[in-house]
């Protein structure tokens, strides 16, 4: 004991570490409870997150550098070929868009005839993935659009192939996106072919999702496309989410085990689309508008013929 005391007098920080540790433990406990149980610290988190934005930029710097160097060494011929390619694609897509516009107006006309509200087109902005969550057990990415660009919590994120996830947190310059494959994530979906509704859960595997509570007798096949159903009010309706990969029936179980592969390239895409709800239908304060009308729509929309 005497020896320990002597050492403690030689080295400067004697009894202080214990005291500081105690202080820190108490502070941390308060913070954890306030954050996890009562959700009081979102603003603090957002402020620190904004302060840490340079970290995200640095993290993205190697990729930007690579892009820039690639840009330096691309030949004129390559650029011309790429340009031609893109123009051709643009033409094809434009033709499809023209057709789509006609169909959309016709669809709206029909809906008006049926006395239901018109479907407005969603507005999107393009963002870029600048980081991933350091925690290997959660599937989250960070995109370079934040509250400064109007992004709010709960917005859906798409890539070119399908639904990727939803915004979970925003700071000024970045936001955090929870991917559909995270084990705490669920999307209400429907089968395109017949409008069968179900819930699609993530299970922590980036290449597989789980369709739950589908009865044994339900009409579902391998290869069926699942699109977001728009129920629950969080995700816009009609974006492709996953494709049914594999159905196993176990006798005696009331539900079948269905595995689906996400359509979005969750671990490859770099550019993403942030979907804004159409103006006048902000879902942040949905009680402004008559809530009865959408409920009626939902009933009509699940009619098999209209889903397409």
């Amino acid at each position: 004991m005497a020896g320990v005391a002597a050492i403690k007098t030689i080295f400067v920080q004697g009894p202080v570490p214990g005291l500081r540790l105690l202080l820190v433990i108490v502070l941390s406990a308060v913070l954890i409870v306030a954050d996890a149980r009562f959700d009081k610290l979102t603003s603090v988190r957002s402020v620190i997150g904004t302060g840490l934005a340079p970290v995200h930029w640095f993290g993205n710097a190697p990729y930007e550098l690579q892009n820039w160097i690639e840009g330096l060494f691309t030949t004129r011929d390559d650029l011309l070929a790429e340009n031609e390619d893109l123009n051709a694609r643009l033409l094809i897509l434009e033709r499809r868009a023209l057709k789509y516009a006609a169909l959309a107006s016709e669809n709206n006309e029909l809906r008006r005839l049926m006395n239901s509200s018109e479907v407005l087109d969603d507005r999107v902005i393009v963002g870029e993935i600048v980081g991933v969550s350091p925690d290997p057990f959660s599937h989250e990415v960070i995109i370079n659009k934040g509250s400064r660009d109007g992004v709010t919590v709960g917005q859906a994120i798409l890539d070119a192939h399908g639904l990727m996830g939803q915004v979970q947190q925003t700071s000024s310059f970045t936001s955090r996106v929870l991917l559909v494959s995270d084990s705490s994530h669920a999307v209400p979906v429907e089968v395109v072919r017949n409008g069968l509704r179900a819930i699609l859960l993530g299970n922590g595997d980036i290449n597989a999702l789980e369709l739950v509570h589908v009865p044994d007798t339900a009409d579902i096949r391998e290869g069926d496309l699942l699109v977001s159903s728009g129920l629950g009010g969080r995700f816009p309706k009609g974006y492709p989410v996953a494709e049914v990969e594999n159905i196993t029936k176990e006798s005696g179980e009331p539900f079948v085990n269905i595995e689906a592969t996400p359509k979005a390239r969750l671990n490859q895409s770099r550019l993403v689309l942030v979907v804004f709800p159409p103006d006048g239908e902000e879902d942040e304060d949905g009680n402004e508008h008559g809530q009865d009308e959408p409920a009626v729509n939902v009933g009509i929309e699940t009619d098999p013929d209209e889903v397409r």
Partner: protein, 158 residues
Amino acid sequence: MLSVISYPVFALSVVLSLVLSISLFPIGWFEFRPEWLGLMVFYWTFRAPAQFGILLAWCLGLSLDVLEATPLGVNGLAMALIAFLVLTIHQRLRMYPMPQQCLMVFLLLGINQMLVHFIKQMLGGEDAGFSYLWPALTSALVWPVVCVLLDNLNRKLG
């Protein structure tokens, strides 16, 4: 104890470790990623116990909390614990040969990871078995490199 330490090196190493902990990484290798910030806290409290201590480690842990989106304070507490344990053993740690130091890194970062996962599970996270200890192991493996590199930088620039 190093005679001199360089504050720019400290700042740079901390920022770099934060960047490394969120940088894009092949998905299969994800769970083997070293706990960079934990290593930095270990190194700096080990080399300069008079300047870097529990409170600074706590602040760094809080920033990791924000980056990881864990409840604020979880990593803060775990980092502060590393700093505390290093402070209590740093006189002995200095005498250890490199393999034994690596073992201590594994133990301390293992305790850190264990605490983080314990709290996360209490708050409703999923149970991942013992695989959460991988970062502690990989951190112990990169420790000699990190230690020598930072020592050299400190000597040159401090």
